[in-house]
């Protein structure tokens, strides 16, 4: 326990909250993608984190081979993962979509291993990073550091989220996706091509992950096997926030970011991921109790 640190260095609170919000924004983005396919297709996408890392590697590849500033590679990473996940939908997901939830978890888990290993073969097991060269800003007499890349990530995450929300509400495909998520049979009766909707939903999630991956490549480091924590985090955010509630996803994403930072400061970095798991357990218990209460009320 290291609570004293906050009294000797009170600005660390500001630092923790800043960092938490900035990384939380990226988590929220990834979680939103997961909520989307979970809601529409009833699939828990276990390879979510791998899509993120794949997007990161596209950014890294363009940066490393062609010297393109990673800031400009975001559309390419997004498009690439969009196409890859569309292909994966056609090859694998389409076969598990109507099946038991367990089957889709297994299938996407298998996919995550395949993607990890392919990334390892293609990009190597070295730790990579794409430098955006944006520099760092300082607040409070140099004690609080704000890497501009993280601010940029925050802005992009918000921007992409806004685009997706507008798309969902006003475009034809977006409306079809929402209709399918609300009632698949009714949507089908009314002429929505649900197969097409599924394919696009899955690919849109890929595109979102691609953007998030680019941001991860710039703010953190890349490694083929680092995807799982992103999957877990987004799973947790979705469980807390529920499906289809965008504001809740953002708040719980940023909340998780801040809590993680505090956990890191207080109980130590070694328990940070463990803390996320523990939180997950508590939230599941809490939610099931809440549901239980509701049921009692109904009686």
């Amino acid at each position: 326990m290291d609570l004293m640190i906050f009294t000797t260095a009170p600005w660390l609170n500001v630092q923790a909250i800043f960092d938490g919000i900035m990384i939380g924004a990226v988590f929220s983005l990834i979680a939103y993608g997961m909520a989307l396919i979970w809601g529409v297709m009833k699939i828990i996408n276990v390879c979510q984190g791998e899509y993120v890392i794949l997007g990161g590697y596209i950014t890294f590849y363009l940066y490393n081979t062609y010297g393109i500033n990673p800031l400009y590679t975001i559309p390419a990473a997004s498009l690439f993962v969009f196409l890859v996940s569309f292909a994966i939908y056609k090859l694998v997901i389409v076969k598990v979509i109507e099946r038991d939830l367990f089957v889709s978890i297994l299938a996407t888990f298998g996919l995550s291993i395949i993607i990890q290993q392919l990334m390892n073969t293609i990009f190597g097991a070295d730790v990579e990073v794409a430098q955006s060269g944006l520099g760092t800003e300082f607040l409070f007499d140099n004690m609080v550091t704000v890497p501009v890349t993280r601010v940029f990530s925050l802005i992009i995450a918000v921007l992409v989220a806004a685009i997706v929300v507008i798309f969902m509400h006003y475009s034809k495909l977006g409306r079809a996706i929402r209709a399918t998520s609300q009632n698949k049979r009714a949507a089908k009766v009314l002429g929505v091509d649900t197969d097409k909707v599924y394919g696009y939903t899955y690919a849109i999630n890929g595109a979102i992950c691609g953007v998030a991956g680019s941001l991860v490549a710039m703010t953190f480091t890349l490694h083929p096997y680092i995807g799982l924590p992103y999957t877990i985090r987004s799973f947790m955010i979705v469980i807390t926030a529920g499906l289809g509630n965008f504001a809740a996803i953002i708040t719980s994403g940023m909340g998780l970011g801040i809590l993680e930072q505090y956990a890191d400061y207080i109980i130590g970095t070694q328990f940070r991921i463990g803390f996320v798991f523990l939180l997950l357990v508590f939230i599941i218990i809490w939610r099931s109790r809440k549901l239980l209460k509701k049921r009692e009320y109904l009686k």
Partner: protein
């Protein structure tokens, strides 16, 4: 359809049976070839260093064979290695150790990459009485269990960064401070190797009476250590020591650069393997890196010559500068060759005794095994990144450059 299935099952089981029996006929010395066995990480998270390991092995095998091979009982033998991919997974490594020994009947082993995998294989080879010369498992726990058949050519993990602490004490004295006034910050991954490095560092700090102000521990699956660094920034220690394989080194340097954390002395492991400085555009300047070996050291042998000769030969074949993981792997084969020739036999017991009496100099350093199978004749090397190059600064008798201390503040760097 049914008959087809039956025939297929029949055929397949015959084939399987055939495989079982044929592998039993495989022996350690086949005609004029001595077959060594190794499980190396060709896939998975250690695959980069696994490849360095394999390249080191292959380079030495080729050189030894080109120079006439190994002479045992008046006959010349060539060396060959049977490889398996352990997928960077310790339970797989365990299986492969069994497989190499029991199915492939191999009697001479080389080590895998990383302490964790070596640790998984060690009890099996020791119980079977099959000697293994390993070059990439530095964890102290490998040498405290009383294994009789395990020999390591490298220095143990707890020695990695001890000298960095000694260096900090030395510098404190020079600047008129007491070593006990030095504040130390630690950031270590939770794996057997890094924890051993930590042990050595903590012991050294205790010896000098230094105070540990930050004791950060990093989980394996994390690429963010900004919280630890924010603490470091707040508490201003004189030394920061980081160990967490390539990922830890990379993350640390990237975020130190980003957060502009000023530390007079920053020391870490694995900065060579990750070639961090180049990737981060100079962010790794002034970092001290612990290494088992550096090509500028002047140790010599009759096969590879000195470190520079080795580096040239290696680069010609593999097109990159040899990391120490390759150098130590090559050295393991020189040890095997010498043991074969000294024992003049293929008997595993005699070979073990010959191995334990090894006392030689290779391009990689002096090799003499202590009672526990650990190389006690070679010190660790510390180099500092100066102008994008690795300059050896410790131990002082081999050092080619002077330590730049304290590292300039970020605000003063270009």
């Amino acid at each position: 359809m049914k008959t087809f299935r039956k025939t297929m099952t029949c055929l397949l089981s015959t084939f399987a049976l055939f495989l079982c029996f044929s592998s039993a006929g495989y022996t350690k010395v086949d005609g004029d070839t001595i077959l060594l066995g190794a499980a190396v990480s060709l896939t998975g998270k250690y695959s980069t260093n696994g490849k360095h390991t394999k390249n080191g092995y292959d380079l030495a095998v080729k050189l030894i064979n080109d120079r006439g091979g190994v002479k045992v009982k008046g006959k010349k033998y060539k060396l060959a290695i049977k490889y398996y991919d352990d997928e960077s997974n310790s339970s797989r490594a365990k299986e492969l150790a069994e497989r190499l020994i029991k199915q492939d009947n191999i009697k001479f082993l080389l080590g895998p990459y990383s302490s964790g995998l070596t640790k998984a294989m060690a009890p099996i080879i020791d119980a079977a009485g099959i000697p293994m010369v390993e070059a990439n498992g530095a964890s102290r726990s490998l040498f405290t269990k009383g294994y009789k058949y395990l020999f390591a050519v490298l220095s143990a993990a707890n020695q990695y960064l001890e000298s960095a602490i000694d260096l900090a004490a030395e510098k404190a004295k020079e600047s008129g401070k007491k070593p006990s006034q030095v504040k130390v910050a630690l950031a270590f991954e939770q794996d057997p190797f890094s924890l051993d490095v930590r042990l050595g560092v903590v012991e050294a700090a205790k010896r000098h009476g230094m105070k540990i102000v930050v004791d950060g521990k990093l989980p394996k699956a994390l690429n963010d250590m900004s919280a630890i660094l924010a603490k470091v920034k707040a508490l201003r220690p004189d030394v920061l020591v980081v160990s967490g394989h390539s990922k830890g080194a990379m993350t640390a340097i990237k975020q130190i650069q980003e957060m502009k954390v000023d530390i007079p002395l920053l020391a870490m492991t694995h900065c060579d393997a990750a070639k961090i400085n180049k990737k981060l555009g100079g962010g790794g300047e002034y970092t001290l890196c612990a290494a088992q070996w550096h090509k500028s050291l002047s140790y010599k042998d009759s096969y590879f010559g000195n470190g520079m000769d080795y580096a040239k030969r290696f680069e010609k074949v593999y097109k990159y500068d040899p990391p120490y993981q390759s150098a130590e792997s090559s050295a393991a084969l020189l040890v095997w060759k010498s043991a074969f020739e000294r024992s003049n036999s293929f008997d595993t017991k005699k070979l073990r005794d010959a191995l334990s009496k090894t006392n030689m100099q290779t391009f990689y350093g002096n090799i003499r095994f202590g009672k526990t199978g650990q190389n006690i004749a070679k010190p660790m090397v510390l180099f500092q990144v100066q102008n994008g190059k690795n300059a050896v600064v410790a131990p002082t008798e081999w050092a080619s450059s002077k330590l730049i201390w304290p590292a300039p503040k970020w605000s003063e760097r270009k």
